[in-house]
Symmetry: C2
Subunit: 336 residues, 2 copies
DNA sequence: CTGAAAGCGCTTACAG
DNA sequence: CTGAAAGCGCTTACAG
């Protein structure tokens, strides 16, 4: 390992100058900088991150926190964020909560993050009242992605969840559906996490706007994944309530619904229309109608926002309806 | 920020003793250790990672390198590995190559990794001859996951790719198929990356074992994702060659095939049977027959292997055929 | 624009 | 079992 002293000696300057020249600081003459760079290259030198961090007080890392890296939206956001962060010279520390409340608490309520990262990116992170205090005690810059709740002082990047849900619903209503079920998403507002609440609001608003009375029997909560979607759909069918379409809070839940419907011998869209939100990679493969949201773009914008100190406030990205084969006019309208 | 001196003062011992007590080193009396722990807890102390790293020479991080975190297999391996690593007290540094050759080279051929991580986990990482030298110059312990090629001195965790492909093929052949296409996977052996080569070998072996002469016109290369599967299937159809089944190198390619078949008005399995490898989360949703591989288990075992210095050699995990609705006997056997 | 020196907060021989 | 002191390899006021 060549150290900064080796480079300093080779270039005939002090270590302070090497440090400045290599980091591109302004107060170095061009000739000196060239000499230093040449020596550093020749010796294959790169500064020890550990030493830089200790001396400089910056860790050079950004913590990226996701609920489940295995879900489409999160992996897509992380991929984009990772690339942007590495391009900007940061290490990416991955924290995958895996649905564990314990992991969430440990991450937020210990000093672990502060000493490991210069900044934090919270993706779809539900926060309780006491979590806000913990987050602000981190004394770290941060950004939230796809979380309706703003952390004070942190910018946020997201879509309009109410609007996205309305787009899906208006499409279904436009096809003639009136009995539209809604599946998945914990809509309790205990957690300061408005995504699900907002999507539910969009569902209800669209119905009311069309003069359709919402029927609580058509709403089934559930986790936002395949299993949750399948279970919620199973529950819906078990209730024996009439419906001709399902609006799923996300595409993975919609895919779970597809599995459950198939299992019950129901065809999509002949017997039931199905729409989601996301535009998951695999949505085209199953012909799923959905409201597309720009996941990668949210990751990139979050990093941009995080790294430009002037950026503040909310970034709201657009969504758009993508019609595929999973939605059609109802064959027979079953008014319960 | 409370520092080690503060704890030392509070406990009435030296910083050396604090350091030893907190890290659980053996040469500390129980009473002293208790006193130190109590003081540390009371003051909310946790050691500065940067300082520990510089002084101790260990970074406390493990680099996890994947081609594309958005693909099912990789995100699943990473999720499991991340959990195991955090439980063991390591930071997880994520490197997502994103298919960029440049990213791969930069990662392997600069000292970047060595100074940032104590160990490396390479997941499905193709290595060229010159890469091996670079990897061993890292002078870091490591493990490879799902890469047929062993890095000298590094253990590996994987499945039997030849066997997995044979299981899928034997199922199709057992149903009566003889014209079986194979899609996706760069089978050139330029890269020391045997996964695709092995799966192709399984394809060929199964055919030969059943007395079927392989037809090169039935093989189409392509990337291992939706787009690749769709493109390869499009190419296959464009060739106008007769076939009754498709064996896809992975489930995502199979899903791409499904899209392309649907687009061409072909039904699965009535017109074409379709089988993959993986048992992707969404495979049940589309009724895909596949050979399941334990992705999370590979992530966990890789970490285990990495952290136990005695562990060596290859870990070979089992696969099993999972039959769903995408395969059936051919309606009419088209012998080209 | 450049350098000498202190300091970042730990860990680790070394000595006892 | 414990402590004093050196050292890990940088960065940063401070002085010039």
């Amino acid at each position: 390992m060549t150290r900064i002293d080796d480079v300093a000696r080779a270039a005939g300057v002090s270590t302070a100058t090497v440090s400045r020249a290599l980091r591109g600081l302004p107060m170095v003459s061009e000739t000196t900088r060239r000499r230093v760079l040449e020596a550093a290259t020749r010796l294959g030198y790169s500064a020890s991150p550990s030493a830089s961090r200790l001396a400089g007080g910056r860790t050079g890392g950004v913590a990226v926190v996701v609920p489940r890296i295995t879900r489409w939206f999160f992996s897509t956001v992380v991929e984009a964020a990772e690339q942007s962060l590495h391009e900007a010279g940061y290490d990416v520390l991955l924290f995958n909560l895996g649905g564990s409340e314990q992991a969430r608490l440990k991450l937020l309520h210990t000093g672990a993050l502060r000493q490991r990262a210069d900044a934090v990116m919270l993706i779809s992170m539900p926060l309780l009242a006491e979590d806000f205090a913990a987050v602000s005690q981190l004394e770290l810059p941060g950004v939230t992605v796809s979380s309706g709740t703003a952390v004070p002082g942190w910018p946020s990047v997201r879509i309009d969840d109410v609007g996205a849900a309305r787009k899906a619903m208006e499409h279904l209503i436009g096809l003639g559906h009136t009995r539209i079920a809604r599946i998945c998403g914990e809509s309790s507002d205990e957690l300061a996490f408005t995504t699900h609440v907002d999507r539910r609001r969009g569902y209800l608003e669209a119905l009311l706007h069309a003069g359709i009375t919402p029927d609580p029997a058509l709403e089934v909560e559930g986790s936002l994944d395949l299993a949750g979607g399948a279970a919620a759909t199973g529950e819906l069918l078990a209730r024996g309530v009439a419906f001709t379409a399902i609006f799923a809070t996300c595409d993975e839940a919609a895919m779970g619904a597809l599995t459950a419907l198939r299992r019950h011998g129901l065809r999509v869209p002949e017997d039931v229309s199905l729409a989601g939100i996301d535009d998951h990679d695999l949505a085209p493969a199953i012909g799923l109608t959905t409201v597309a949201q720009p996941a990668a773009e949210q990751g990139r914008r979050a990093v941009q926002t995080l790294l430009s100190p002037d950026a503040q406030g909310d970034v709201l990205l657009p969504t758009h309806l993508t019609v595929r084969e999973s939605t059609a006019a109802p064959a027979r309208t079953l008014d319960g």
